[in-house]
Symmetry: C2
Subunit: 169 residues, 2 copies
């Protein structure tokens, strides 16, 4: 082995650069090539801001970039982009599946929080979602109970019935 690659993502980027990376990844996945114009419209920034972001990401070794050429993600860039997307998904999943928040707010919240949430919390959140889905005490009963609680402010009174449901599993 000539030399080991950076084992893990070293530090975290600014929220802004994470957004660019995430967007680039998604556009490449969908259309093979990520063009400045589309990145700009997705992120609602000007095309010149995209150029500057390219320079910054390239200087950090996350994308391969030369003026007027097609950009690609470096291995480090791929890893980083996937990490951001993983955080995004973990958050959105939790918001929808556990908190029963609407799709729009869930997406919006994930977009913002993904840049701030420590990895330990993302991990726990992911575990919590799968726990709730698997645990007999959890599952859809718990979630529908929570939804009801949100609407009425009270926990469901038919507890025995509900626990009977639990026992069936």
């Amino acid at each position: 082995m000539p030399g080991k690659q950076p084992a893990t993502t070293p530090k975290r980027l600014s929220a802004s650069l994470e957004d660019y990376l995430e967007t680039i990844f998604h556009i490449i996945a969908e259309k093979q090539v990520a063009r400045a114009k589309e990145i700009a419209s997705t992120l609602k920034v000007s095309r010149s801001s995209v150029t500057e972001a390219f320079r910054s990401l390239s200087q950090k070794g996350l994308i391969n970039y030369a003026p007027y050429e097609v950009i690609t993600l470096t291995p480090a860039g791929q890893e980083m982009a996937k990490d951001v997307i993983l955080r995004h998904r973990a958050l959105k999943d939790f918001f929808i599946k556990v908190l029963a928040v609407g799709e729009k707010i869930a997406e919006e919240g994930a977009c913002k929080i993904e840049h701030a949430a420590p990895k330990e919390i993302i991990e726990r959140l992911t575990q919590f979602v799968s726990f709730i889905e698997q645990c007999p005490r959890g599952g859809s009963d718990l979630i529908s109970g929570f939804t009801k609680y949100c609407q009425t402010g009270k926990t469901d009174k038919k507890c025995k019935e509900c626990i009977a449901h639990c026992l069936e599993k």
Copy 2:
């Protein structure tokens, strides 16, 4: 009535200004007076940055400020500070009580996420914590089950025993 006050907090401040406001509120609560020196050391910024933040917060009508004088929060500033602190607490509570995350990470995560989380999500999170504490399916059984799940990757096998616990309540 001469004119109505702004009913609710209008928009959200930058993360930085929210941090200043939060810190000012806490220091005033604790020591009556918030001095630039202490704010600086709490937030790990220079004293001159604090002066600049004072100007900005004052210009936004959130603190009363005149050079060399004691600063105070305006009613709008109080409201805003309380709102930030509420978000902080809601997040930290959730991290500790539900995700069973350590105090340090919970605090750190709350500090960062509080500036990004939409209010709808904070509300749901708060409701979820109290729901889990009240619902017979939830409570300490669920949390300890989750903790076990985090450690072992499996849900607790003693389901009947656990549901029996539920029934006792």
